[in-house]
């Protein structure tokens, strides 16, 4: 039993490499200069150092940045005090009209036809019957004169009125222990906030600005205004509200902006 098979390994190639390959490519192999390879590897290292930004913007680095952003969400949730009210201001300080901002220009705003507009409800909500504008506008209103802070760095004082969001969520039998309140909008914008913020006393579904109906560019007939979030967390032209435990993301959040973005 001394016979050994020539191929003890299953991974051994079925066909042997033709040694003639080396002879055929002798010239090429001789051109591979060890010094050149070393020098080349040095240049590669130097290039990696010089192009610092390119190296740091790799996908691995992006994973770190995304993880830090998620950590920031948790830290901000801990920092958030549901009873801490944002500073309020006087009517004299209110900017009229408010400043417009969307993911497109003012000229591209398509106004909502309020006669056909409906607010739909979904997710962990007991009474999912849709609301008409007339029904919403008949609800008791709360007025807030608060600062709007944009993630870009500008701010203004706005005067918003509408039904308190907590009151509305209670009215429709939403599960207030759920994690998220998500919004869909007429212009295909979408967003979501944490339940703690939704239940903050200064979170409203705004219908008026400076006592007048909100103008078309600013979210007529219904938008979110909360004193404790950056501007982009306040969707305009809301068409649906969903209460959910599944992370809904958001238009800008899906483009790298921090989700919590609490003020």
């Amino acid at each position: 039993m001394s016979i050994r098979t020539p191929s003890p390994s299953r991974f051994r190639p079925a066909r042997r490499i033709d040694p003639g390959f080396l002879a055929e490519n002798k010239a090429l192999i001789e051109r591979i200069d060890r010094r050149k390879v070393l020098r080349g590897s040095l240049s590669l290292g130097a290039l990696a150092l010089l192009g610092g930004c390119d190296v740091t913007d790799t996908d691995a680095m992006q994973k770190v940045l995304t993880a830090v952003s998620a950590w920031n969400d948790r830290a901000q949730a801990l920092l958030f005090d549901q009873n801490h009210l944002a500073p309020t201001f006087t009517e004299a300080e209110v900017l009229k009209p408010p400043r417009f901002e969307a993911y497109y220009g003012l000229a591209d705003v398509s106004p909502v036809d309020v006669s056909t507009w409906k607010l739909e409800l979904g997710g962990l909500i007991a009474d999912k019957r849709p609301w008409t504008a007339a029904q919403i506008y008949a609800l008791p209103e709360q007025e807030l004169i608060i600062r709007h802070v944009c993630v870009e760095g500008w701010d203004y004082i706005g005067q918003w009125s509408g039904v308190n969001l907590r009151r509305f969520l209670e009215m429709v039998g939403a599960d207030l222990t759920a994690k998220y309140v998500a919004f869909r909008c007429y212009d295909d914008y979408y967003g979501s906030i944490d339940m703690a913020t939704a239940l903050h006393p200064q979170s409203i579904l705004a219908t008026r600005y400076a006592k007048e109906y909100i103008g078309d560019p600013f979210g007529y007939p219904l938008r979110l205004r909360t004193s404790t979030k950056l501007g982009f967390k306040n969707p305009k032209w809301i068409t649906a509200i969903e209460v959910t435990n599944n992370y809904p993301g958001g238009f800008w959040e899906d483009r790298g902006f921090n989700w919590h973005s609490g003020l």
Partner: protein, 242 residues
């Protein structure tokens, strides 16, 4: 690195000696340096989203997260969100490292020993010497009056800079802090000027470190040994024991 290997071994252990810059200080110094550069480069990109001064703009090449090609690939925008992500990463590094650095400097007595007292007369004398290129660097372990002033100044600027940054990040949760800056734009303005002061400090700091390379080396290898058991040189007030 070879320097470190040459100096450290075999010198007999004498009394209570320590390096001018303990290892912890060196590590924190360089983490600080990296974090500050992250904060500046990402900060000037964020600034660009809504410039405070119409005549001050920063090219994308100087920014972090601002490379348009990469930003569009990663986030589908011009780098606004990428710069913010970098800024928040830097924020946590500055928060953790800065807190330890500050606490260490205060509690260990290092800052009191190395940065105080600052006498106006000495500041003027040092400035005069500096302008005549007569500054002596014989003893790295003793800072001159201008150095002390700059270091104390930059520590104070850093504290204000962090406070303004927090007021911008959390104007509602930290509304009392934010009210110190009068308005939201007030906090932005202070944050911008604070950044400018830090950049100015960095220029002077790096330039001087390059002019007197032993100081740069000291921040890597630890520098000359100092005797912690002895009282500091005569012009200083007596220090409590370390």
């Amino acid at each position: 690195m070879a320097e470190m290997a040459e100096h450290s071994p075999a010198s007999p252990p004498v009394r209570r000696e320590a390096r001018m810059h303990p290892l912890a200080v060196r590590i924190m110094h360089w983490i600080n340096a990296a974090a500050i550069i992250i904060m500046i480069m990402s900060g000037i990109k964020i600034y660009g989203d809504s410039p405070i001064f119409s005549f001050i703009a920063f090219p994308n090449a100087l920014t972090l997260g601002g490379d348009p090609d990469i930003a569009f690939r990663l986030h589908g925008n011009g780098g606004q969100s990428g710069a913010l992500q970098w800024h928040f990463l830097g924020m946590w590094i500055v928060f953790v490292n800065g807190t330890v650095f500050l606490t260490y400097g205060l509690i260990s007595g290092r800052w009191r020993r190395m940065l105080l007292p600052i006498r106006p007369r000495e500041v003027i004398a040092t400035l005069r010497d500096a302008l005549r290129f007569k500054l002596s660097h014989d003893d790295l372990t003793v800072y001159n009056a201008v150095q002390k002033l700059l270091y104390v100044g930059i520590i104070l600027v850093a504290v204000v800079e962090v406070a303004a940054g927090l007021a911008i990040w959390k104007p509602v949760q930290l509304s009392h802090l934010a009210s110190l800056f009068v308005s939201f734009q007030g906090a932005r303005l202070v944050h911008f000027f604070g950044m400018s002061a830090i950049v100015a400090f960095l220029c002077v700091h790096v330039l001087l470190a390059l002019l007197v390379p032993q100081t740069l080396l000291a921040m890597i290898t630890g520098g000359p040994k100092i005797d912690l058991g002895r009282a500091p040189p005569p012009p200083l007030t007596p220090q409590p024991g370390e």
